[in-house]
Assembly symmetry: C4
């Protein structure tokens, strides 16, 4: 009897796993699509809830909906733990952590009011959408992007390090040149201004007033305008390299090289590679 119920529970688990974790079966796909609509809906509720005018009208409904979605996602989370074979593995995975973070703020808002706005982190759960869409294609493209970014990781680190050093030193110079009366009230504030300037954002809430300050600011701008070419060049080179993918295979017949990595035959003599 116990064993039978064990088999029964095992079957239930498998069925649940199929529906919740996979997107190939009709039931699994329907579940995923439903889930995505629930997530988008709950994020929309949180966003509209923060608009004073709408909150005054529908605050009550939003409050109920928020708890409805939170309880729904809590149940889903428990079912995921129940149905998966290695719960610990799931719970410490990226999606597992996001799933917990997506329900915590509502419970937290009982203690700390205002924290429910953190619920927008639920949006990260929508990343599951790529499972429903032609999954493998997007994974392939994402893989290419990730590979290109990983390959240029060190160059980007170096670049950011140089930019940050420049920003700290130039921000401090501006603090000395312009001083507190022109809005550069402290070095951290001046560094913030330098970042606003070098990234070409340029809010204009703080702007140099003295001639020397304007000259230095102009220098930072031209620097920021020019050096954007560096990370762009790095990523472009990496992507082009991946896109052209020059194979080092030589043709066994005519020994010509330069074949694409997907080539099966020599493009010069037609010999099999």
């Amino acid at each position: 009897m116990e064993r039978e119920s064990g088999i029964h529970s095992s079957r239930l688990r498998n069925r649940l796993h199929e529906i919740i974790f996979e997107a190939d079966t009709p039931a699994g796909k329907m579940f995923d699509i439903g889930l995505i609509f629930c997530i988008l809906g709950s994020v929309l509720v949180v966003m509209l809830d923060s608009v004073a005018a709408i909150n005054a009208q529908c605050g009550r409904i939003f409050y109920v909906l928020e708890w409805f979605f939170t309880i729904l996602f809590s149940i889903e989370y428990l079912l995921r733990i129940y149905s998966v074979k290695k719960p610990y593995y799931y719970m410490t995975s990226f999606y597992g952590i996001v799933d917990v973070l997506a329900i915590t703020p509502t419970y937290l808002s009982l203690v700390i009011p205002g924290s429910q706005y953190l619920l927008v982190i639920r949006l990260l759960r929508v990343l599951r959408i790529f499972r429903v869409l032609k999954f493998t294609q997007y994974i392939g493209e994402a893989g290419q992007l990730t590979r290109a970014l990983r390959a240029s990781r060190r160059k980007i680190t170096l670049f950011l390090f140089v930019v940050l050093t420049a920003v700290v030193i130039m921000g401090s110079c501006m603090y000395i040149i312009e001083g507190g009366k022109n809005g550069f009230t402290s070095i951290p504030k001046s560094i913030y201004w330098a970042i606003v300037t070098i990234t070409t954002v340029g809010y204009g809430d703080i702007a140099p007033k003295t001639t020397l300050g304007e000259a230095l600011a102009a220098l930072i701008m031209i620097m920021g305008y020019s050096i954007i070419a560096v990370p762009t060049g790095i990523v472009s080179a990496e992507m082009t390299h991946l896109r052209i993918k020059i194979s080092t295979q030589a043709c066994p017949v005519c020994s010509a090289e330069g074949h694409d990595s997907d080539a099966g035959y020599c493009k010069f003599c037609g010999g099999k590679l």
Copy 2:
């Protein structure tokens, strides 16, 4: 007699079709050039009409000109339907829809005042200009651009998805950190601010005031400044790939495409190109 008039009308139709739809004959070219000047003229009228100082002076003339152009384009539209062989096909094509949209606002302005400014959509009709210029060359270039963009479609979608997710989450964080008193009055408004910042536009109408807010803003700026390298890299790689390997030759054996311009044999099946 009836048949004769049928032949007559058929001839007229062909002649009209030649003038209106084609740009190879002198008459067709003249028609197209005249049309483009009319379109530009009518768009200019709409634009100047919106300037209060000019409107006060020439409002009357503009009103007459607007109706003149609208009736002209209406007649042209009817002639197009009359002369084309498959009117339905034309009416549902891109140009057909634009042609209707280009005359509707004037009629609509009788019911809803102010809608006449939508007439600037007429500018889309000017896209016909590429027919008059060395048509095929531009089409080829446009084709290259479109192909490169289509090939990087999925990567760009992924990129925009990640950017939008980041913008929503970071906007919400700023809403919690800065709050309504510093201009971040709601989550949608904060998301708007995050988009203004990550795209490096930086109006400055809303700007962080607290230290923590400025730190997060600096993070978003550096992020926006760095990740612009990603779409640029994607499109560069695709364009470079197209530029270096331009052959559009299809294999006569397996009809595969994407061969290098120096290829003599199909790289997939070894067949002679």
Copy 3:
């Protein structure tokens, strides 16, 4: 006697031509360097002259200096016409026109006060600096840049055309949505705002106030942020193509292809190309 003076004048002309137009002889080089310092000096005078505080002090000196440089450049211009073999050819060339434009504003300022500030156009004369520096190297680099830009001319035209159409239509939509009370006082002003936004400049003197306006603005920003990838991709592809310069030459010994255009020997078998 007359003939002798003719020979004499011809020799003088040649000598003058050598000094003024060439940069290879020591005298010619010295002349060019002196000229560049005069140009930079005169531009500096014009710039400082416009600063009220400095003008109050040194206005008199600046006035004298301005006329000194203008008369100097006028004499130089006359000498150039005198010494060159085909004066008409020189006068209608780029440098000839710039040389006239560089002296006209001072004379013009006698009639129209304020026009002397146009003298900064003298800066264009400094382009001659590349003759003094290692001339041919820079010409080669400039040639590469120009070739890449010329090759992508049509694609850039197409791109700008699409951007301008988008800017006109979106600017008009913003005019209808936001209206004059939020700063969008006319369609041309709204188009100006759309250009400020799509190029990610973002002054913030005009900014949307309504929710719908902010949504459309966000769209324009993301558009502007993404499509910058297109011209960048076009120029990158063209430059990469030029930089890699894949020759279509095949090795006569091993018939391998893919040699650089500067290669003299096959990189695979060492055979002479």
Copy 4:
């Protein structure tokens, strides 16, 4: 006895040199890590010291810490001079100069108050961090970046020259068009505005008010938006070139470089690589 002390001092020197200048031995690595923490700590102290609110509270502690770090770095600098074999060579090297600059401001602040904020230049000393991290890898990457930038040096110079000329001429035009009453108070100020605009920073502290000014500003923006493609294209092409053809092999016969990574023979003289 004297000789023995000589040997002793020589041993001490070698030991010191090993600890201070090298990062391979455990002692050397520990020294470097300790040093980096000291540098970051002292920079943090300088930055926080400039914040009025924190200064009021901890000004006393910061003052002591600043002198503590300065004396520590002074001792370190003396030890470096003592332990290195060629003190003059070290003192005139990049790091030697930075090391002096990193301690001077504190002593200088006794004479000129406020100059202690220049201490952030200490951050440059953190560049030593790359010695502690997997040194050679980063050096390789930095080398690639530097080579790409050096190869495109002349093109970038040309580009910046053209941009600066455009900025000076367009700034002057704006000064004439807009005049002092709209914020364009002098040509240098107008040039500053033109730089703010062409780099797409766009503070908005100065903005055109007249229609003609707005039209010219729109032109500068579109120019700035488009020409960013040029430096990006230059660096991308250079990086792609380096990425695809990475071989740094020199020909043993003619010692030419720049061979493809798949080359077996020198492309210039045909010699075996």
